[in-house]
Symmetry: C2
Subunit: 144 residues, 2 copies
Amino acid sequence: MKHMQLKRYTDFSLRVLIYLGIHPDEVISINEIARAYDISRNHLLKVVIGLQEQQLIETHRGKHGGMQLAKSPDDINVGEVVKYMEGSSPIVNCREPFCPILPACNLNAVLREAQQSFIHTLQTYTLADLLDGKEEQLVELLRA
Amino acid sequence: MKHMQLKRYTDFSLRVLIYLGIHPDEVISINEIARAYDISRNHLLKVVIGLQEQQLIETHRGKHGGMQLAKSPDDINVGEVVKYMEGSSPIVNCREPFCPILPACNLNAVLREAQQSFIHTLQTYTLADLLDGKEEQLVELLRA
């Protein structure tokens, strides 16, 4: 059964940022990341577009093309990434099937407030916190 | 695409509690709730079992059987219901496909903390808050 879970897309975008974060000053290809995480290239293409839209990565075309972080890991906020990637999807679906109490429902506002608490907690972390002290181990684990 | 969303099961359990909350001192059948929200009886049966396990409802068997709240709406905590219904499902799936950085991943702990903030916010509300000032309008909207 479906449960409270982030989009794959959001999850993968954080994994891409972690990969780029532990390989600073390198231009990394989508293929390399796809191989390291065993994720399809197609899934990653969409993720890369989302990261570009947020100006978190720079991409380089050509034979030795690829991407790198456009900012320091200290300046990449986890909460902002999740918020952007998740969009404004409601946490319950009141429309399918249509819920008759919608016009008088207090639950919506309560759930929205809880979702904001979720994002606020993530906003206290940066990509640097995700890498902190684990860089070497992460490089080792991701060696394809 | 799948996004951050509560289980249908959790959503429906809150809807059942709201229904019972606006019909105090009445024994309500599953069929009545199924009709009011246009939800299948089978889905609701599972929900009712979950609510019974939490001792939030009392059920009565027989021809005029059904259920009613076992506690005052003031004593039914929204966060506790959601926590129980959602279980300990992780908010990202690190196992399928298996994520190679799992042994060194800080993201898990960060997401767990954010999930706790989500629940903590819900824990500041009771069923009474969901009904507050809306009882008449809710009864009207749910008249089958």
